[in-house]
């Protein structure tokens, strides 16, 4: 095998798969990248057996064939090479030669035949999704995913297709058991059997999906294949194993009607929270939110440091109530909102609070209080 490629293109291609290769190095070949050359293009594949990515790039292919080498080392080498063309060639016993300008590298790889099988995904039913919408949906939910690996069914985002009041909606829900984010958007032609039931995309796959959604405007094609989600965009295919678990019944925890409703300027709320969070306890990050007619007070205290208080004018006419919240959860929500004002709804200091944009009824975030 031998090919020549623009260093710039090759570097970008290798950068894209760095997040996918196995870092723990339990199975050596999973930290490698597979490079296959044929017919004027090279195909680059990486997988950790949960999430895999394959993408093709234009190259001058002198001799077809395939090799596999350490994804990290190859990336480091290409990154340091000068601009121009890079030539990569296979030699005997899995050795690879890289030439660029006057630099020459010989590195040893592994047998390409041992690289895990990457399914052919051309056939099957795909639905089309606009990249911009997907990127927005992911941004507004991903922060609520759980990082606790023992809660494997919460280590991802739940995708579901629902029909509501005559609207076809794609709904995304993420929760870590303390807070939840739900967003839905009207998307035509997104019906599929899997989405009707609902599927959980794994956290690592979500990161990759978000990246390619942000790369360009062309549509994302989504399909399903034996418990995997297949995502295709331009010359790239991502396959991810869906989380094999039951997503909790999130509808139960979304408050239906709450009498205490406050309209709050988002930017002011956000910055006040950030200031008050500085004196919240390191571990709990708890702040106290006090609602009074026309006024919101945020306060925090830390036995080792001191205390802080700030208030802002809001639109509220309900009764006085004080609730503890994890400031980080509130900040996460406010950060992904775009509108000038948000609605905060609460019932009491034991029930979940809900934050929504003033105008958008299809985006909501639920936060369970803290007892301070």
């Amino acid at each position: 095998m031998q090919f020549t490629i623009e260093r710039e293109i090759f570097l970008k291609a290798l950068a894209r798969i760095q997040g996918i290769v196995e870092k723990r190095n339990t199975i050596p070949i999973l930290s490698n990248v597979l490079i296959e050359a044929r017919d004027g293009e090279i195909e680059i594949t990486a997988t950790d057996l949960e999430v895999g990515m394959r993408a093709s790039y234009q190259a001058d292919t002198a001799k077809p064939g395939k090799v596999t080498v350490s994804a990290k080392k190859l990336f480091e080498i290409i990154k340091e090479l000068p601009e121009g063309e890079v030539t990569l060639g296979a030699k005997e016993n899995c050795w690879i030669e890289i030439r660029c300008g006057k630099a020459l590298f010989n590195i040893v790889g592994l047998a390409a035949d041992e690289f895990p099988y990457f399914p052919d995904v051309e056939q099957g039913d795909f639905i089309s999704l606009p990249s911009g919408v997907i990127s927005d949906l992911l941004e507004k939910t991903a922060f609520s995913m759980s990082t606790d690996e023992s809660k494997y069914n919460l280590n991802g985002i739940f995708f579901q297709n629902i029909e509501l009041e005559g609207r076809q909606l794609l709904r995304l829900v993420a929760t870590d058991g303390h807070r939840l984010a739900l967003i839905q958007r009207e998307l035509e032609g997104t019906e599929s059997e899997e989405l009707r039931k609902g599927v959980i995309f794994p956290k690592k796959g979500i990161f990759e999906l978000r990246k390619i959604a942000e790369e360009s405007d062309s549509d994302i094609r989504l399909g399903f294949m034996d418990n995997n989600a297949v995502i295709q965009k331009d010359q790239t295919v991502i396959i991810m194993r869906l989380v094999d678990g039951e997503f909790p019944d999130y509808t139960r925890v979304i408050p239906q009607s709450q009498d205490m409703v406050a309209k709050i300027p988002r930017e002011k709320f956000f910055h006040a929270l950030r200031r008050m969070a500085i004196l919240s306890s390191e571990k709990s990050r708890g702040v106290k939110v006090l609602l009074q007619p026309g006024r919101l007070e945020i306060s925090s205290s830390n036995p080792e440091l001191g205390d802080a208080r700030e208030d802002l004018e809001i639109d509220y006419s309900g009764q006085e109530i004080a609730i503890g919240f994890n400031s980080r959860y509130m900040l996460d929500i406010l950060q992904v909102q775009k509108e000038d004002e948000v609605i905060l709804q609460v019932r009491d200091n034991m029930s979940p609070g809900m934050i929504t944009p003033v105008e958008d009824r299809d985006f909501l975030a639920v936060v369970m209080p803290m007892r301070l």
Partner: protein, 406 residues
């Protein structure tokens, strides 16, 4: 709280050779004999020794074999923690008749601030005498007490009063009492620190008095300032009844070294049950866990874990302990002792609330509550896991250590 030595009356009450005295009380034939409490003759450690054993040079903390070499006639008895705890509750209930400001230091020792009840109950000495009388009359046990203007001096006084005595240090007598004392008697001065001080020519408190505060601070930092004050009998610490429990632990030395991982896992389950129950009884839950392993050669290893959510259930504690066990040489090296300590104790009612209530979790909690209630009423053996039933050939623990770790 001021540092002056005149405005408070503190009593330090300390039971004499507590475990051994309880054994002598329960078995009158042992009265007047040397009694060592602590487990097997070959492998245990002396947890307590009656005063009759002390002239032979026996001290608590000593290896049982060494103690027996010094005092071959001594009677060796196992630790009956449950019984001691029961007696301890009675002792503390007597204390509570004399003050609301009680700071427990351990199962058999407490500070009482009686400054507020002098008018009602008489002088510090009178109150201490009454407490000692009640403990002797109602429970039949010896107790010593020290009366002084602060905790540091009260504790020194009770030590001096032992056994079965009472000593008061009046404000005017502080120097006479304090100055001749060995430096090792100072609060917070352990073996290592005592050596450091002796190296500076400080053998007695009187030697320490010659040092300026700045010089002590320069050498010992914050400790130095404390030494300066202690040398003058100043101790501003208030009696703190709400003293937080920092850790709860259970450890056991086995009757023979264990090599079978299955047996060790079983012992850990039993320890997990104990600490889980105790942490629940305190209304607390743990954010941290430490596993302690002592191998046959006495080398000790510990491994710790942080919980994501407060833990108070035996299964969860056990699972984590087993996970930590993988990172030890258990199974390869014989094990003499294992222990589980719960740390970073928090109130589980506080903090972040859960969005989803898991019906299984709720059911398990109800079950645990029911078992706790059963054991409260009928004792810890009322219900037991089948795997923890003692059968033939099961390993007996020669010594149970517990730690309320204030």
């Amino acid at each position: 709280m001021t540092g002056t030595v005149t405005d408070k009356t503190i009593i330090h009450c300390d039971m004499d050779a507590f475990f051994a005295s309880v054994e002598q009380l329960d078995r009158p034939e042992l009265a007047g004999r040397a009694v060592l409490v602590g487990g097997s003759r070959e492998r245990g450690v002396v947890s307590a020794c009656s005063y009759q054993a002390r002239p032979f040079g026996v001290r608590s903390g000593m290896a049982m074999s060494k103690a027996l070499a010094r005092c071959p006639g001594a009677v060796v008895l196992p630790v009956r923690m449950e019984r001691y705890r029961e007696v301890s509750r009675q002792v503390f209930s007597i204390f509570s008749d004399y003050s609301d400001l009680i700071e427990p230091l351990s199962i058999d020792e407490a500070f009482l601030d009686v400054s507020g009840c002098l008018r009602l109950l008489g002088s510090g000495v009178k109150i201490a005498e009454a407490i000692r009388h009640r403990v002797r009359r109602d429970l039949g046990l010896p107790i010593s007490a020290g009366v002084a203007p602060n905790k540091f001096l009260a504790k020194l006084a009770s030590e001096e009063a032992k056994p079965n005595g009472l000593l008061e240090i009046l404000s005017g007598e502080v120097d006479a009492f304090l100055l001749p004392l060995d430096i090792g008697k100072l609060w917070g001065v352990g073996r290592v620190m005592a050596e450091k001080l002796r190296a500076l020519g400080i053998d007695r408190v009187s030697d320490l008095r010659g040092w300026r505060r700045e010089d002590l601070c320069r050498r010992f930092g914050r400790e130095g300032a404390r030494f300066y004050e202690l040398a003058r009998g100043i101790d501003p610490r208030p009696v703190d009844p709400g003293r937080e429990i920092k850790s709860i632990g259970a450890e056991e030395t086995f009757s023979r070294d264990l090599t079978n991982p299955k047996e060790i896992r079983r012992q850990l389950l039993s320890q997990a049950e104990k600490v889980a129950r105790r942490v629940r009884k305190q209304g607390l839950a743990a954010m941290g866990l430490m596993l302690k392993i002592k191998y046959a050669d006495f080398s000790t290893r510990s491994r710790s874990h942080r919980f994501r959510n407060p833990a108070r259930e035996a299964e969860e504690i056990w699972r984590v302990a087993l996970e930590l066990l993988k990172d030890t040489e258990v199974g390869l090296r014989p094990v003499r002792l294992t222990g589980i300590y719960l740390t970073d104790l928090v109130n589980p009612e506080r903090g972040q609330q859960e969005l989803f209530c898991d019906p299984m979790v709720e059911r398990r909690q109800k079950l645990i509550c029911a078992i706790d209630e059963l054991q409260d009423r009928f004792g810890s053996k009322a219900t037991r896991r089948a795997t923890l039933l003692e059968g033939k050939g099961s390993v007996q623990c020669v010594q149970k250590g517990e730690d309320g770790g204030e």
